[in-house]
């Protein structure tokens, strides 16, 4: 009876942890199989332990090239989407203007549409215009679909900002440019950073839109997709594992720094 009671009280925790396990299981499998030495072309069955792939991550032709292309596209797309999205967010929160509803829907719609629809319609535009598919068409598409997410992230931050801070700056004879650079921007920075991080993650990992707009250009997700058809090299598991570890470490470091700053201020 006591066991049943114990179980009842912890039911939520147990169910939650099971879900967490479901979320993490594939990551664990990816990591474990990065140490596999598969027999055939596909890395789906465990054979024997080996660190070959870790010692030679670029050993598969095309992999590291596609990785660096994805990084470049993600960086430029993040830059573009963050600048354009931050401007829109500021305009939406800080100013009154006509056609606000139309602007809001134009920003919201890309997020409410399945990627495949956006990708297909963008491709019809490019085909109609006779644009050559490649780096630039991918970049254009990525900026387009990351933009809305940046707007949402920045908007949330700017909305919770106390407008009296800017008024105070102006009362202290700061010009508009100085107010913006010294007061507004630093306060909005966490929102902008969150938006940029989201844009980077979305762009770097995007497959569906890239699939339609890339022509014969191969980004990292395109490379993985191709290898799922032809044979999966162990090296893609190495890259997946490394990305996961780096992401976790970056978040941990940033949180440590953030906490220390908070304590210093307190």
């Amino acid at each position: 009876m006591t066991f049943v009671n114990w179980l009842k009280r912890r039911l939520v925790v147990i169910a939650g942890l099971l879900t967490l396990g479901y979320l993490l299981l594939p990551v664990v499998v990816v990591a474990v199989f990065s140490f596999n030495k598969p027999k055939g072309r596909f890395n789906y069955e465990w054979q024997e332990f080996s660190t070959d792939a870790w010692r030679d991550p670029c050993g598969v032709s095309g992999l590291c090239g596609s990785l660096s292309l994805s990084l470049q596209i993600a960086l430029w797309a993040t830059l573009g989407a963050t600048v354009l999205g931050t401007m829109i967010a500021f305009a939406l929160v800080r100013y009154r203007f006509r056609a606000r509803g139309a602007v809001n829907s134009l920003v919201f719609l890309p997020m409410a549409m399945p990627e495949v629809v956006m990708a297909a319609s963008l491709l019809t535009l490019f085909l109609n215009m006779g644009v050559r598919l490649g780096f630039w068409t991918i970049l254009i598409a990525h900026v387009m679909f990351c933009l809305s997410f940046v707007v949402v992230a920045v908007k949330a931050r700017v909305m919770s900002m106390d407008p009296r801070l800017e008024q105070a700056a102006q009362d202290l004879y700061a010009g508009p440019a100085q107010t913006f650079l010294r007061v507004t921007l630093p306060i909005a920075a966490p929102g902008i950073a969150a938006g940029a991080l989201l844009a980077f993650a979305l762009s770097f990992d995007d497959f569906i839109i890239t699939n339609f707009t890339s022509g014969s250009t191969v980004t990292f997700p395109m490379f993985v997709w191709g290898s799922a058809q032809r044979g999966t090299p162990v090296q893609i598991n190495v890259v997946g594992t490394a990305m996961f570890v780096v992401a976790v470490l970056l978040v941990l470091v940033s949180m440590t720094v953030g906490n220390r700053r908070k304590r210093q201020k307190a």
């Binding site: 979320l23 305009a91 009154r96 535009l125 008024q167 990992d205 996961f244 941990l252």
Partner: protein, 311 residues
């Protein structure tokens, strides 16, 4: 590490800065100048393509001779009658995945919001971090997990679960891969964080004193959940289901990697028509129908659930 296990930062009080009117800035053109580049981008590369697609869907012609707008609406009829099973399947799979995400995600969001204590940040990281490890690779990992000779399939077989699911038509024989169950499982997995995060956000906003109050008034835990927690978390449920259902409906990756030709979804059809068969009018018509259906469903859903301030 030490800092992570510390007590979490206090829940940010809903920032209620006295909302004075937006300061009147000089220069009435400023907002338009700020909006112009971004909106132009969205217009040219998002809105205009949708119009182009609509026009492509009523064109006839061939790749060699070019296409011409002939208002050939029969394309829509042909596309629907040829591909309605894929449409139905997409909605079914996406709906099942959404329900599963809600059922699996709610306890996790609840755990993070109320029970995790000093582990909260770490669990949050573990929920978000897989985003950064390519989701194609993670989806491929399900091929290993659900492999025919793998432990999962063996256990399910030993428990005769697969007999039941085969009878229901979710699996075929003693396989899980290349069946609807595998596709739904992959969809659920891929979009689970999109359910957990909004749920967590709305749960975290609930004032814990409301729980205490319910307790003081002799509400049993289950009653507290039903009458207090669940209603207050509805905004999270609504945005979570939208964030899961919309991308899941248009997805073709899970159906391609984990399914078979019998589990093709509408995304698969659009992709093949566009990129392999090069039948642009049919592909454009299918994509247009999908878009219209989703927009219609989303509008109705948001109206019904009464949370129009989602955006």
């Amino acid at each position: 590490m030490a800092t992570v296990t510390q007590s979490p930062p206090p829940a940010p009080a809903p920032a209620q800065a006295p909302r004075a009117k937006p300061p009147r800035k000089r220069g009435r053109r400023t907002p338009y100048l700020l909006l112009l580049p971004g909106l132009l981008w969205l217009f040219v590369f998002f809105a205009l393509p949708v119009i182009y697609q609509a026009s492509t869907s009523v064109q006839t012609g061939s790749l060699e001779d070019g296409y011409e707008v002939t208002w050939h609406f029969a394309t829509y009829w042909d596309a629907l009658s040829a591909y309605w099973p894929q449409f139905v399947r997409s909605v079914l799979y996406a709906a099942s995945a959404t329900v599963l995400c809600l059922v699996l995600g709610y306890p996790l969001a609840y755990l993070i919001a109320f029970r995790a204590g000093r582990w909260r940040n770490l669990i949050m990281i573990l929920v978000i971090a897989p985003f950064f490890a390519s989701f194609l690779i993670r989806t491929l990992a399900w091929k290993t997990i659900l492999a025919d000779s793998g432990p999962v399939v063996e256990i399910l077989n030993a428990l005769h679960v697969l007999d039941v699911t085969s009878w229901l038509g979710w699996t075929a024989g003693d396989r899980v891969l290349a069946t609807p169950l595998a596709v739904v499982c992959g969809l659920t997995y891929n979009f689970l964080p999109f359910m957990v995060l909004p749920l967590y956000t709305s749960l975290e906003r609930i004032d814990p004193r409301l729980h205490e109050a319910a307790n003081d008034l002799y509400a049993r835990p289950s009653t507290t959940f039903r009458r207090v927690t669940l209603p207050l978390s509805m905004p999270g449920v609504v945005s979570g289901t939208l964030l899961t259902f919309i991308p899941a409906t248009g997805d073709y990756i899970n159906a391609d990697l984990l399914g078979s030709t019998d589990t093709r979804m509408i995304g698969n059809v659009i992709q093949t028509q566009f990129l392999r068969i090069l039948d642009y009018p049919t592909a454009a018509a299918l994509s247009f129908i999908l878009m219209a259906a989703i927009l219609f469903a989303v509008t109705v859903y948001i109206r019904k659930s009464g949370t129009e301030d989602l955006v």
